[in-house]
């Protein structure tokens, strides 16, 4: 496994642990990370404070722990509605006010949790040193913000300021104390009372914002290269907050389509005339399919995977005990009326009872939806191997499975785009390509009969562009028509939806946004559980539950263990 992938996987594990911790500390069940951002359900949470945004590259695990604890405490101990009414208007004041509120909740870490206090402190030190070493403390404004953060946190939590920079703070601290000394004393005293604390915090924020404005004027005189850089960094810190602190996500939010937003999410399709659903077995000649199938079989043999074991694991994961008739001829249990005559005939015969039989029944349907866009061509053989093995194991475990795929019928929009051009290029045409859905293995088809059709996955000219949202919708609709009580959809993909014609005719994130909407709707509906299998890519922006796999050069059971892990997580 490559280093990058190893790192991504580590990071995913850390994120999962952190999310679990935030949920446990805050007591809210529907919190999770999408990318670096904490979400409640589908809503991203506010930005909170500058030190709650660690970077995966430079910060250690201890820092992530501290951030998780800080977020959990913030949600548990700070009333968001009250906070919103108390927050000042001015962006700079708001920045400082947010930071102070975060310090307040961190000071409220319970005594029974010394580890949490240590993690918070660790994160604070690391953030402080990062801030200091990035040169931001070289400017007057930077130093002022830094000093306020240090002094206030030390006061509220009753801990020392960061030792390394203590001397540097002296002058600023001396200058500040007559201005905010009174409010500072209040911070510690009223830390358990959000409203009273906020009054002091607003005082401080107001005073400091005034000082910052003055410091900015002086700074203009001595402009040199390094300081300008630092000032820019500082500015971006404030701008970060500004963009995100309010929950207004209109234009700047990456990955959203303005067109879809303005049409309140109404996804359009220009024409469905050229859309098609194919049976995979009809996509290639028999001989071709057979030779492709041979390649898959060779790959499976090389992989050395234990299908029987996988089937057992899946059975354990997906089945539930159910009553299943009676076992007769038992020595104890309920009397079996049909055997009473036997008692008369041979009184010594004791096996007159029957017992209820329990068996595990997998009342579950699993669908694999494979992204057949161009970039997946390189992974086709591995994906075919994994999906084929899973289909076989699921069948052994008594679980219904489907294997579906999606691509487009042409590059660059094909006939749909030509029709659009003929119609005079109306604006916002919606999806503009020939959607192509493929059924490799239907739910009713046994694996044995679908074997040849799986070979079609290796057909190179299949792989074109990908319209994920509609494909997920289609797969969900197929699942919902099934009568099994549990329905799992696993989407195998290596990237975001891509269709150049649609993106050009609409706007950049049109398909991405739609995919996110579709997945969110089904996740919320709760009838289908959706998991993303990212082929070397983190799919967490789209799917709430996802797993990165390194499919290409892994041998043995690793990739299967990861996927059963994903299914186990979906089960909850």
């Amino acid at each position: 496994m490559s280093d990058t992938q190893q790192r991504i996987r580590q990071q995913q594990r850390v994120t999962e642990l952190c999310a679990g911790m935030v949920r446990a500390v805050s007591g809210e069940g529907n919190l999770h990370f999408r990318g670096p951002r904490l979400h409640r359900g589908q809503e991203p949470l506010p930005w909170f404070a500058p030190h709650l945004h660690p970077s995966a590259d430079s910060d250690d695990f201890g820092s992530f722990r501290g951030v998780a604890d800080g977020l959990g405490l913030r949600l548990a101990r700070s009333n968001a509605a009250l906070h919103a009414t108390l927050t000042p208007e001015d962006p700079t004041e708001r920045f400082i006010f947010e930071m102070l509120e975060q310090f307040r909740v961190e000071a409220l870490a319970p005594d029974a949790m010394p580890g949490m206090t240590r993690n918070l402190r660790h994160r604070h030190i690391q953030w402080s040193l990062d801030f200091h070493h990035s040169g931001m403390t070289d400017t007057a404004r930077g130093l002022l913000i830094y000093a306020v953060a240090q002094i206030c946190r030390a006061r509220v939590t009753g801990q020392q300021v960061v030792e390394e920079t203590e001397d540097m703070l002296e002058a600023t601290r001396f200058g500040l104390s007559p201005l905010i000394g009174h409010a500072l004393a209040g911070l510690r005293r009223d830390r358990a009372d959000q409203t009273a604390y906020a009054a002091h915090a607003r005082d401080i924020a107001h005073t400091v914002a005034g000082l910052l404005a003055d410091a900015g004027d002086e700074g203009d005189a001595e402009r040199n290269g390094k300081q300008a850089d630092a000032r820019r960094a500082l500015f971006s810190l404030l701008a970060d907050m500004d963009a995100e602190v309010g929950e207004a996500f209109t234009a700047a939010q990456a990955g959203r389509s303005q067109l879809l937003d303005s049409a309140s999410g109404a996804y359009r399709i220009f024409t469905t005339a050229y859309d098609s659903v194919h049976d995979a077995a009809t996509l290639a000649r028999k001989e071709v399919l057979a030779s492709h199938r041979e390649r898959i079989d060779r790959r499976i043999a090389d992989q050395g995977v234990n299908v029987a074991r996988l089937a057992r694991q899946l059975r354990a994961l997906l089945s539930e005990p159910a009553r299943d008739g009676w076992d007769g001829g038992q020595e104890d249990g309920h009397i079996d009326g049909r055997r009473l005559a036997q008692l008369v005939a041979s009184p010594t015969e004791r096996r007159l009872f029957r017992q209820e039989r329990q068996s595990s029944v997998a009342d579950c349907a699993v669908t694999f939806l494979i992204d057949c866009s161009g970039s997946m061509k390189a992974h086709a053989e591995s994906v075919a191997m994994v999906v084929d093995v899973f289909a076989r194991a699921l069948e052994q475990a008594g679980v219904t499975s489907e294997v579906l795929g999606y691509t487009t019928g042409a590059w660059n929009g094909g006939r749909a785009r030509r029709e659009w051009q003929r119609a005079g290029r109306p604006s916002h045409p919606g999806r503009l390509n020939e959607r192509c859905h493929i059924v490799f293995k239907g739910a009713e088809t046994p694996w044995r009969r679908a074997r040849q059709a799986m070979g079609a996955l290796l057909k190179a000219d299949l792989f074109r562009e990908g319209i994920d949202g509609e494909a997920v919708e289609w797969a969900c609709a197929r699942l919902l028509a099934r009568e099994e009580s549990r329905k799992l959809l696993l989407v195998v993909s290596d990237g975001s939806p891509m269709d150049s014609a649609t993106e050009l005719a609409n706007d950049a994130h049109y398909l991405e946004h739609h995919l996110r909407d579709v997945v969110a709707r089904h996740e919320q509906g709760g009838r289908v559980q959706i998991g993303g299998i990212g082929v070397g890519l983190d799919l967490s922006p789209y799917y709430r539950c996802s797993q990165i796999v390194d499919i290409a050069d892994s041998t043995g059971n690793t990739v299967f263990a990861e996927l059963t892990g994903l299914i186990a997580r979906l089960r909850r």
């Binding site: 949920r23 446990a24 319970p110 909850r572």
Partner: protein, 324 residues
């Protein structure tokens, strides 16, 4: 066995003195301890709301069901109240194989004057019904719903009980009381925690006059309970330790509610852990033996995180150790 049929409660005791609950209620109690009165556990701590609900059952002849997660001490709660009132108390553990005959009674072959004769033997329900006894159905939701209809009539306060095998109608004793404990509220095994729990008939649930819910306790209460059980941890260092242990338990409960864990720590687990700390003198080892090893392997790193928060120590299962 002395016959208790004739005995009645003959004095009134103050709830405030007996259970330390701020209430002016006075409850009837028996003067003498008879064979079926449970032993008093002097360190048992009563939860005010649930205690009042159960006392209402004793005083006013209400049918009380106590519902709560495992290890919260539902049955013990009723028993300890009965113990202090000297009220005879019989616990019946229900399971899927308890049949109507077990509850009502059946014809059995007995020896009389050297002769084998068939005679009707009363089951536990008619027996208890005629005596001043508190009958507790434990794990009420494990009983098969069709069988539980046997007690449908006696759930009503003046309900008489017809023994069809004998053409007899039993009138309940004036001081017969009925209680039940259950993990679920009759909705079956929703979260996968209580395998074997049945869905109950709602016409029957409806007949229970009072449903008291015994949730996990406030941290301070739980601290006191653990220290009462394990007196060695009652000093100052012990208090600090037990508070962190209770904090871990609280995190696992919230983690369970959020769906991150499939097991949780009941107060019983915390007490076991505290006892194991005494044996092994090592809080991390005792934690592993009393809880971590019960968890699914995939969930252990998260449990290790909980532990780190509360003790500032790394468990072997911790992600940090796995990385380095």
């Amino acid at each position: 066995m002395t016959d208790i049929t004739a005995s009645t409660p003959d004095r009134l005791l103050s709830v405030r003195e007996l259970f330390g609950i701020d209430s002016d209620l006075r409850v009837p109690a028996f003067a003498e301890r008879s064979e079926h009165v449970p032993d008093i556990d002097s360190v048992y701590r009563f939860q005010p709301d649930v205690t009042l609900a159960i006392l209402a059952g004793f005083m006013r002849d209400r049918r009380v069901m106590v519902q709560g997660l495992h290890g919260t001490g539902k049955s013990t709660h009723i028993e300890q109240i009965a113990a202090r009132l000297n009220w005879p108390c019989v616990r019946v553990n229900l399971d899927g194989h308890i049949s109507r005959l077990d509850l009502v009674g059946k014809d059995a072959v007995v020896l009389r004057d050297g002769q084998q004769v068939t005679e009707f033997q009363e089951g536990i329900v008619p027996w208890a019904l005629q005596r001043p006894v508190a009958l507790i159905f434990d794990e009420y939701d494990a009983g098969r719903p069709d069988v539980m209809f046997v007690i449908q009539r006696i759930l009503e306060r003046d309900g008489q009980f017809t023994l069809m095998d004998q053409n007899r109608v039993l009138r309940p004793h004036a001081f017969f009381r009925l209680f039940a404990t259950a993990n679920t509220v009759g909705l079956g095994n929703l979260n996968g925690l209580y395998h074997g729990a049945q869905r109950l008939n709602h016409a029957q649930i409806d007949r229970w006059n009072i449903v008291a819910s015994l949730d996990y306790l406030a941290a301070a209460e739980e601290l006191a309970i653990v220290q009462a059980r394990v007196p060695a941890l009652a000093d100052e260092a012990g208090t600090k330790l037990v508070r962190s242990m209770v904090a871990v338990a609280d995190l696992t409960r919230k983690g369970f509610a959020a769906g991150d864990l499939s097991t949780l720590m009941s107060p019983r687990t915390v007490i076991t852990w505290a006892e194991n700390v005494e044996i092994f003198k090592d809080v991390a080892l005792a934690f592993r033996l009393s809880f971590v090893n019960k968890c699914d392997e995939a969930e252990r790193p998260l449990v290790a995180e909980y532990f780190q928060r509360c003790f500032d120590l790394e468990l072997k299962e911790s992600h940090r150790l796995a990385v380095s």
